[in-house]
Amino acid sequence: MNTQTLSNTDRTSWKRIAMVWNFYLPYTRKKLIGFTILSFLVEGMMYYAYTYMPQQTATPILLMLSVMIAALMSFSGLVFAKPRGRELQTLLPALGMEKSIVIIGYVAVVIPLLLSIPSLLSWLLGSLYTERNVALLFGIELNASVVVYSVLMLESMALSCLWAVLGTSRKFAMRNGILAVIGYYLTLSFASGFVTGFIAGIKGYSDNFMDDYSQTIYSVLATICGIYIIFAMIKCCRIIKHGI
């Protein structure tokens, strides 16, 4: 039982969150700049492919670029795999919550936002991505469930990477981060097949099965990802506070 009452220093402070962000800048600065440049570059390439190439050529290129953006986001946690100073990071005079806000915020909010800025801009300018175009390109009907599932899937992959990186010894942090993303993706693919099969078994398979039930399937998968995200975040927060 803690015999000391919580002093003002031990309450969450925005100033200290800014200091923790500053502390991690030597780790993240290059990535932040690199990711911004890369996301604009990829967006430019997508624009070029979409505007000037025939659809048969453009679609695989656009898919490839989308996968590249997804991979960049998923592996963003690798930046914390640096083999230095784990003890002093744990002992950094800030609350575990403040460190978690910075580290998880970097992986789950900052990097996704950076990678989305060009897409958001082009969407806001109304020139490139309309619902119809995305649906046409990727062969799916874009609805709320698909969007939510896609976002949660990427977030959960990124958090898997972070969890593995933080939770393993310095020597294997990078390797385990990469393996975690691959492992999580394969598990999710398996879960996706399982959920689809399960619903098909209950409802009966028909030619219009995906049209009829895609929303249900994606909702179930989004829920699975959502639960996993909460679990992974709790685990990450714990490791960030106390170390391995």
Binding site: N2, S7, R84, G85, Q89, P93, L95
Partner: protein, 271 residues
Amino acid sequence: MEIKLENISFRYSSKGPMALQGISATIRPGIHLLMGENGAGKTTLLRLIAGLLKPTDGRCLIDGARSYDLLPSILSKLFICGVNVDFPMKSIDEMVKYHAPFYPNFSEDMLRRNLSAFGIESSTLLSDLSTGNAQKAKLAYALSLRTPILLLDEPTNGVDIDSKKQLQRMIAESITEEQTVIISTHSVADLENFYDAVIDLHTGKLNYALTVDQILDRLSFGVGPEVPPDALYSEPWIGSFRFVLVKADEKLTDIDYELLYMAARKTKLPL
């Protein structure tokens, strides 16, 4: 600041052996020598005090707060430095820019002074320094943070003889009376004659935790051509003998830490 160890036990895995067992002590400001053989639990104890490990039993309190709670108010007053503690930044300059702002007592003047005493540039990458020089740079930085609690784990590892003397002088100059410094070492002769207290661990148990004055109240140390018949422990030493006796008179002697260490393991001392 006061560190209170309340019946601390620790094991690294649930079925593994106890690394520490039933350690109780109150550690007050001063320079404390934490000694013990390899595997005695010195590093484990320092990590428990820092809050990097959670005691299996008991608790470690720093000014009444559990160290494992890792409260910023405590963390900003504590720093651990040692060969197994890597710095998170590439150079001391980066540490000053990104890490030191968390420590309100940090003195850049002291850092520059300490680094120049060792002849080390703050901008040099730590990875470009030799093991000994990197250790010296880390120690110079650790001292300049001026935290009320400073835990130094084997600070003289990899440091040459000349630098050990410099380090001793630096610690003596940098440390104030209000600071609690615990220096863990298995080579007790490295930084002699400036400790205020001794904590002796043996196979995970506390042999004793006493101030130098308390030890000298009970024991005296001597060197002579013959071993006195009432010596508690003796060993040959450069053509003569050095020995430990129960203190019988008011004559002042210096502590021979190496002899004290050996005597505590070979015989039962009245401590």
